[in-house]
């Protein structure tokens, strides 16, 4: 069986339309990030508390919100009416995100879950230990450190890859690869910002995997270009690249499809905890495949014609 017959598509000829598409995507994402003053960061980076609880029956978020708008813990009154309150998985699970509190009462998360339990006392599981799904608390100091760690991780991955590709190929290929990766991460970040999804530690892990995956795709094409360039010395680099993309097209599509399937399954069936992670992967696989054809290769051509 063959899905892709021998093709001869002029990919490089479509570079300009692709450039427009990429620019629009990146611009929309960046604009959204500027309007929202940066990507939406999870408590991993901002610091704060995330509490997810499990009622036995579906509950109404607005009731919780109005109850939380004035609560008292140890005589200290709080207004969590503006906190982010969401369903977590299904409508009987609730997740609340609270930013860091200065001079937080002792045993805050316990007292807070007690308050949540008291809003719907008859919907709390008989075994109270099943009520709490998850509590995460990150101090502002740790948040700041995790942020700088994440940025360092992204940068050092990019630099290491740049070095490896420069050694194995040529510097212009490395530039093409890095351009594609930056493109992928920017667009995925933009999609997250537009949809209001949070960037957490897990999403950063997804970004790094996207970097690895997208590069994988790019290198397969570059490898073919390197091979063809030796055989077809007199042909313009543009045509060599075009031919190489066409020759490896069936592999690109099949691999992208299989990877897309598995991350889609992860997204659909993997559960709430890795939902945003798998979403980032889905976006990443699509964008990564696109960028290895329409971003990485054109950059190499641009660099070569200089």
């Amino acid at each position: 069986m063959r899905i892709i017959k021998k093709t001869n598509i002029d990919f490089i000829g479509k570079t300009n339309s692709a450039a427009v598409l990429s620019t629009v995507l990146i611009f929309a994402g960046v604009l959204s990030m500027i309007l929202n003053s940066g990507p939406k960061l999870s408590i991993d980076f901002k610091g704060g508390t995330f509490i997810a609880v499990n009622y036995t029956d579906p509950v109404d978020i607005e009731t919780i919100r109005s109850e939380l708008s004035s609560i008292s813990i140890d005589g200290q009154t709080f207004d969590f009416g503006n906190a982010e309150i969401k369903y977590f998985g299904d409508e009987s699970n609730i997740a609340v995100r609270i930013s860091s509190i200065e001079d937080e009462p002792k045993q805050f998360s316990k007292k807070f879950t007690d308050i949540l339990a008291n809003i719907f006392p008859d919907k709390v599981p008989t075994d109270r230990s099943n009520f709490i799904l998850s509590v995460e608390k990150v101090g502002p100091k740790v948040g700041a450190e995790l942020s700088s760690d994440a940025i360092m991780a992204m940068l050092s991955a990019l630099v290491l890859i740049l070095i490896y590709v420069s050694i194995r190929f040529e510097f212009k290929y490395a530039l093409g690869a890095i351009a594609a990766l930056t493109h992928d991460v920017l667009i995925t970040l933009g999609v997250f910002s537009i949809l209001g999804y949070e960037v957490s530690l897990a999403v950063i892990a997804a970004f790094l995997t996207i970097v690895g995956y997208s590069l994988n795709d790019t290198i397969v094409i570059f490898d073919r270009v390197r091979e063809n360039a030796k055989a077809l010395k007199n042909i313009h680099i543009k045509d060599v690249i075009n031919q190489s993309i066409n020759e490896s097209l069936s592999r690109t599509i099949i691999t992208s499809l299989t990877t897309f399937f598995v991350v889609l399954i992860l997204f659909l069936f993997g559960g709430e905890v890795i939902h945003t992670f798998s979403f980032a992967m889905i976006v990443g696989v699509l964008i990564g495949t696109y960028s290895s054809i329409f971003v990485a290769s054109p950059v190499v051509i641009k660099m070569a014609s200089k």
């Binding site: 009154t77 998360s109 360092m152 991955a157 890859i161 892990a205 290198i219 299989t258 990877t259 598995v262």
Partner: protein, 634 residues
Amino acid sequence: MQNNLTPRYLIIGIILAWAIYALMPTWQYQNMTEERKEELRTTGELDKIESKIIKQGLDLKGGMYIVLEADIPTLLINLASVDDDRLKSVIKNAQEISISQGLNFFTAFKNNVIQDDIKLSRYYHEYGSSLDDILFSLEEEADDAINRVLEILQNRVDQFGVSEPTIQKQGNHRIVVELAGIQDSERARALLQSTALLEFYLVKNIAVTNEMISQLDDALKGRDDLSLLSSSQNQMPKEILSEPSTDDSATSVSELFGDSENLEKNSNGNNQDSTDEPFIDAPFSNLLTAIPGDIAVEEKNVYALKKLLLMPEVESRLGNSKGQFLLSQSLQPLSANSAKKYYRLYYVEEKPELTGGIVDEARADLGSLGSGSAGQAVVSLTMNSDGSRTWSRVTGANIGERIAIVLDKKVHMAPSIREKIPGGRTQIEGFASITEAKDLAIILRAGALPAPVNIIEERIVGPSLGADSIKQGTQAVILGLVLVLIFILFYYKLAGVIASFALIWNILIVLAVLASLQATLTLPGIAGLILTIGMSIDANVIIFERIREELRKGKTPKTAIDSGYNRAITTIIDANVTTLIASLVLYQFGTGPIKGFATVLFWGILISMFTAVFITRTIFNAYVSRKTLSSLSI
């Protein structure tokens, strides 16, 4: 080619056999009933098996992940021979700078000391004379402190009774604690965070206490920013509770009543005189409630009270009379049918009579019959010889006075001293349950922490979420695997069978490596496994597409396979090395779950090069060499 195959078979055979061997314990363990596990636990064999299975991360089995940071600034203040405000402000400043600029605390401290021209030798003469000497010794002291903290916490957790707790140092001043399957996170947190600083303070008598309260009222009167706190102003309870205090039966009720009635009248009077603004007239005493034997603070007033106590005019007056207010450890209703809950408030001496590591032995018990604490949880203490001597002197010299037994600045009880206590024995009461008493005994036995610790990061996964994650994760892995296998079989036919075989082995070997490395499988790790499925099939896709291409050029199956593999191999290596780099970086930077993801991705890709290239090649070669093929099912 025939000759080359035998060593290949051997290598593959050995690795596959090893993978099965490595996965056996995990398989056994998964199929074991709970009873069988218990049985093996008693013989100690379970530990052996557990050390060979794939460990589940906290996000899968539920549990607690806590990062504690030693409070170095407080340690430095404690170490100083003189602790004045100047030193405190320099230390506090240095801490703020170190947080905001991401500096090492000691670097910031040094800069501040130089900048403010402070003579450190005035405070730390025991640690050297020059600035650098002192700083060096203090840093050593801090390192030493964190190591002792680690040891003490280890001790506490060992006695807490969770399976496989891990406690590790992270960086210089941090400790990571992982506790699996914790149900009661508050209890675990209290056990870890308690400094376990046990102190004995004399309680100031009631006249002095009342005098101080009215002084504070005067001092605070007219401060206009108090209205901020008045939202939590107190309504004095109208009923006077005559129920005798359970806390201290030895103090005569009538003796105290005179004073506390005064207090009551005062406050009530204030309430009536100026019902509109009572808070402003007697800001301090209005937060208090008189109860027989003691003063109490209603729960909702605690925050306001603490704020008041931190105000400079309050601090200076307390400092002048060498006293301090401490709250009781537990929150109690004044009577069984009262919904309001109160803390007791004690006015005690500034300096403790007895402090620190004087505990020899601590044991949780139920109070013996006939004593005041019959049936209640108590902790019995035995002190060492130093402690015993001081204790007997202090009790002997203060008969009739009350002494507050204070743990981590919270009063557990404040009995009257009836007689001199020789032999260094005492009992602590005031626990909500026997568990709480047991935990305190653990903490006291393990000793006080040399520096307070703060929880700076905390992640708890409930058992039900963990179970869901395993279920959904496994489901997704199997579904993803099946889908990819079907697709590959359909698309590449016989070659697809070979690739599918390799893919299944890929996953098994990854799991075997995880089991033998004692690596932890986390939920992101499962995601990594799924991703490995997607990405490792890529190597076969690259090879097969190449073989097809060669076949189209008219090559025979044998040469097509040879050149297909030879050409594909560099592509595969180049493409995979970059992903390996990404996974190594991820491992380096990530914590817990993310590390689990990086581990799986790393091994998955590495092993896919063996299974998808080496194993499939061997099978192809065996297949091709057997007969002269004219066509290839690919």
